[in-house]
């Protein structure tokens, strides 16, 4: 961690977004992670995504559990709300907060240990409930914070820093999310912001649970030769299946792709996600085909990346539960708690 604060000096031509903020207004405090940690790059990508979408900082809720990854919400949007929960329990906190106020933007940051080891159950149920949030899993194959033990995403045969091979099979969060019915499933790499930023933007605008598995190397405990989650390994084995272009509502569509290979998906708020398939056979709207494809590429040792599956839906936890439209803070107290007389009436009905 650095002892000095990031200099207040700014680039005089630093851009401003629709609400007059610069990217630096979306920063948090100085990172205390190891120099070169992939998680810091994900933070930088998030800052860029918030900036580009001109999100109002006080409308953001950052939630996380425990881990190096879970520390990162401190490093972006310091003016946002935040909750650092117990290890693996962030999804419950996110679901609870979202139940109370559906109008805020929920961003959950987790790790492979946090989500796939101790918090696997929580993770699965958040997907099933379709909590309306962006869920970023910063995946480094180890428990970084506790000094590099293999996590549940470590590949068979991947070597620890001490040279020991992992023998337990990995949990792939992407196929897991797909099989649990998630409507937005992506995989990306901390070292590729061109890919990551538009996916994060689309995820923030997606209605329902938006899941992004980001390969985010742990420079200290898992960036050596023999690791399958290192910068070098990810770069050589990464295969971009779909390129994503996020077109916000009202923006002119000026996409970089030729139309033939593009699949456009309109989101709940009217913005568009344009997916260009690098493999013409690939269909990011066919859940079973995507699962098959991922199975096949994983067997080859390839890391398929991109916004792999997307369904523009109107659904989320609130539509399932038929809750009130307004955030609970805006519901008058007498309506929220109609009093014992009403309770008596209801109970009378069921006698």
């Amino acid at each position: 961690m650095s002892y000095i604060a990031k200099p207040a000096a700014r680039h005089p031509q630093m851009p401003r977004n629709a609400i007059g903020l610069t990217p630096r207004d979306y920063e948090g405090s100085m990172s205390t992670l190891c120099a070169g940690c992939g998680h810091d790059s994900v933070t930088a990508a998030l800052i860029q995504a918030f900036f580009e979408l001109a999100v109002e900082p006080h409308r953001v809720v950052k939630v996380s559990g425990i881990g190096c990854s879970a520390k990162t919400p401190t490093y972006f949007v310091s003016e946002a709300h935040g909750f650092n929960s117990v290890h693996g329990r962030m999804p419950s906190v996110a679901a609870g907060a979202n139940a109370a106020n559906r109008e805020l933007l929920y961003v959950g940051i987790s790790g492979d240990g946090d989500s796939l080891s101790i918090g696997l159950g929580q993770f699965c149920h958040a997907i099933r409930r379709n909590v309306n949030m962006l869920y970023v899993l910063e995946n480094n194959g180890v428990y970084g914070l506790t000094k590099g033990q293999f996590s549940a995403s470590a590949d068979i045969g991947s070597l620890s820093k001490a040279g020991v091979a992992n023998r337990q099979g990995p949990i792939d969060p992407v196929t897991l999310a797909l099989s649990l019915g998630a409507t937005f499933v992506a995989r990306s790499f901390s070292g590729d912001k061109d890919q990551l930023v538009p996916i994060l933007m689309a995820g923030m605008r997606h209605q329902g649970f938006a899941f992004i598995d980001v390969i985010s190397p742990c420079v200290t405990f898992n960036d050596h030769e023999g690791s399958t989650k290192s910068y070098a390994h990810t770069r050589t084995h990464m295969h971009e299946v779909v390129e994503t272009d996020f077109v916000p509502l009202k923006a002119e569509i000026r996409t970089k792709y030729d139309e033939g290979s593009v699949k456009a998906v309109t989101l709940h708020d009217g913005s568009t996600v344009r997916l260009r398939k690098t493999d013409p056979e690939y269909d990011p709207g066919d859940r079973r085909a995507v699962l098959d494809y991922l199975g096949a590429t994983a067997a080859e040792g390839e890391v398929a990346t991109g916004l792999l599956y997307l369904e523009g839906t109107e659904d989320d936890m609130h539509s399932f539960e038929n809750t009130v439209d307004a955030p609970l803070v805006n519901v008058p107290f007498d309506t929220l708690c109609p009093g014992s007389a009403v309770l008596d009436e209801i109970q009378e009905e069921w006698r």
Partner: protein, 600 residues
């Protein structure tokens, strides 16, 4: 883009904006750090190595370094570089043991220097330690040139001036006062000297030939002559109402001197408007603080004389507009009379060489100026050199010093029988400043403080006496605050492509968006697709060799880097390091640098 060769000392030199802009290439950031460490003597000596007169320059330098200062691009105001120089000079201990000394055994070569201004004094400073016998011929009874005769004591106390001049003369320079050279031919024909250096300045003040000039002569003064007369005590009073014609630095010294000689209403008359004033902004400020009035758009028309005595001047009131060719032209709107008891002309200086015969092999060119080589300072006659204001017209002290250094190199070469065009090599030392994972040998924490204001002597006190220095200098508190504003531009971000794993940490952390990892391209194209467009073409782009993992390159726009070291701090592989750059700037007698240095 061709990978940047950071092993050429001039690449990193250019990053140190102040040092690059300083004609003598003073190592500003290092002297500021020495002040910060309380090592005033070392700071003084480091200054002296390049600029020879730190105490004088710390008060009077034209400061080309300050508008160049990186801080002006990051915020508005430069570091008070010049004032910090004065801090080192004011607070130093006795330096006599550390000054260059002349060997008792001489090298058998004799050099004559004509004029004892900063140019000649610098030549003497550089050549005396090499064993030369130096003779200076000076027309006046004292040394220093315009630094003495024209810069008033309220800006430069005589004590400070003399001390630094004596450091040079005390090496055993043979100086002949009241000895004007009026024939170059005679001097050369005497054959006594192996080389001759002309440092006679630009001694002639410009005239204003408008009606009434002759009749009013008794009350019209040529600025530089008048200042000299004040210095030597020949003038000690002036009328109540004084008009100073011109708005350059000489005019500022004239109006402020008039104020101290008893003038009550002092008006500086400018032909143009403020943006076109030649005086440095700080000199204008100081004059206005002393209740001098500056009138714009007044073009002198005539001197008005009644009963044989000057009563004032007529001015045309004008308006300036750009014509189609972009040149400013004036239109007369009206005429005004402004009463005056005395008028001082401060509209420029000319060179004059009536004492150099035109048939002795020294070729004269345009404007009747000697033809002088820009790099060697030699005239068309071998062994005769010119520098300072005498070479290409009026400049300033720091340029005179640099001319002196370069001429000394040439004179040394010439006397050793080497070609004067053979210049000694530049070099650099590069040393890592890393102390621990997050600790550096310099204060890398960015300080957002604004520029420290100067303290001045009480107005009444300073106007009462010519000898009272107007500026008080920074006190210790001010100095220790101002030093932190320096961005340490000499602590270079030094990159090793082969170590980079392309984790983006440096790109992400940089507060001023200097860094980009991208695919290679031509510079014009690259400049447009960086993290922030690199629009300042005066500043270099660093381009690395291709990176091991993806073959892309690291690009750095040097423009706004605040040298905070965060890129190096966030780099897991130490691909970035913060290296202290020390320019090895050759002077006369430098033949090579130690083998540990990087030279080209």
């Amino acid at each position: 883009m061709q990978p940047t060769n950071t092993r050429d000392p001039q690449y990193y030199h250019k990053v140190v904006d102040c040092q690059w802009a300083c004609p003598a290439h003073t190592n500003v950031p290092e002297y500021i750090r020495l002040i910060a460490a309380g090592r005033f003597t070392e700071s003084y000596l480091l200054n002296r190595k390049s600029n020879v007169f730190p105490g004088i320059l710390g008060r009077t330098c034209d400061r080309p370094c300050e508008p160049a200062c990186r801080r002006t691009r990051v915020e508005d105001e430069p570091v008070a570089i010049c004032r910090l120089k004065r801090v080192a000079a004011d607070l130093r201990d006795d330096v006599s043991d550390f000054l260059p000394a002349a060997p008792t055994e001489k090298n058998g070569k004799k050099v004559a220097l004509i004029g004892a201004g900063p140019a000649s004094l610098t030549v003497a400073n550089d050549l005396m330690p090499l064993g030369y016998e130096i003779t200076i011929f000076e027309a006046l009874p004292k040394a220093g040139g315009l630094m003495r005769t024209n810069i008033p004591s309220f800006r430069l106390p005589v004590r400070v001036l003399e001390e630094e001049i004596d450091y040079i003369l005390d090496m055993g320079v043979d100086i002949r006062f009241d000895h004007r050279i009026d024939s170059m031919k005679k001097l050369l024909d005497g054959g006594e000297y192996d080389a001759v250096f002309v440092g006679t300045g630009a001694p002639k003040g410009k005239e204003l030939n408008i009606p009434g000039r002759q009749e009013a002569d008794a009350n019209i003064h040529i600025g530089i002559e008048w200042l000299e007369a004040i210095h030597f005590g020949h003038v000690d009073a002036v009328g109540e109402r004084v008009l100073v014609i011109g708005v350059g630095n000489t005019a500022m010294d004239c109006c402020r001197s008039a104020k101290r000689l008893g003038g009550k209403q002092i008006k500086v008359m400018a032909r143009k408007s403020r943006p076109y004033f030649k005086a440095s902004p700080w000199e204008l400020e100081d004059a206005e603080d002393e209740q001098v009035e500056i009138l714009v758009n007044h073009s002198p028309a005539s001197f008005v004389v009644e009963d044989g005595r000057l009563t004032g001047m007529m001015f045309d009131l004008v308006e300036w507009k750009e014509n189609e060719k972009g040149r400013l032209v004036s239109t007369k709107l009206d005429e005004v009379f402004i009463p005056a008891d005395d008028v001082v002309l401060a509209i420029g200086q000319d060179n004059a060489f009536p004492w150099i015969e035109r048939d002795i092999g020294i070729e004269f060119g345009e404007w009747d100026m000697p033809v002088v080589d820009r790099a060697t300072f030699m005239t068309t006659r071998e062994g005769v050199f010119v520098g300072g204001d005498a070479a290409w017209g009026p400049e300033n002290i720091i340029w005179a010093v640099e001319h002196g250094h370069q001429a000394a190199i040439s004179i040394h070469n010439y006397c050793e029988g080497k070609s004067v065009t053979e210049r000694p090599p530049y070099g650099m030392n590069l040393v890592s400043t890393k102390m621990g994972i997050h600790e550096w040998r310099y204060s890398n924490d960015y300080d957002a403080n604004l520029r420290t204001e100067m303290r001045y002597e009480d107005l009444e006190k300073r106007l009462a006496d010519m000898m009272v220095e107007a500026e008080l200098g920074f006190d210790l508190g001010q100095a220790s605050r101002e030093v932190e504003r320096c961005l340490n531009c000499d602590i270079q971000t030094d990159f090793s492509a082969k170590l980079c794993i392309e984790c983006d940490a440096c790109v992400d952390i940089c507060p001023v968006l200097c860094l980009t990892i991208t695919h290679d391209g031509e510079e014009d194209d690259l400049r447009n697709r960086l993290t922030a467009p690199a629009e300042n073409r005066d500043q270099a782009l660093f381009a690395s060799e291709s990176l091991p993992q993806t073959g892309r390159i690291m690009v750095k726009d040097e423009d706004l880097c605040v040298h905070c070291g965060l890129c190096a701090e966030r780099c897991p592989t130490a691909a970035w390091d913060m290296m202290q750059f020390d320019l090895l700037n050759p002077h006369a007698g430098t033949e090579s640098w130690p083998t540990t240095a990087i030279t080209v």
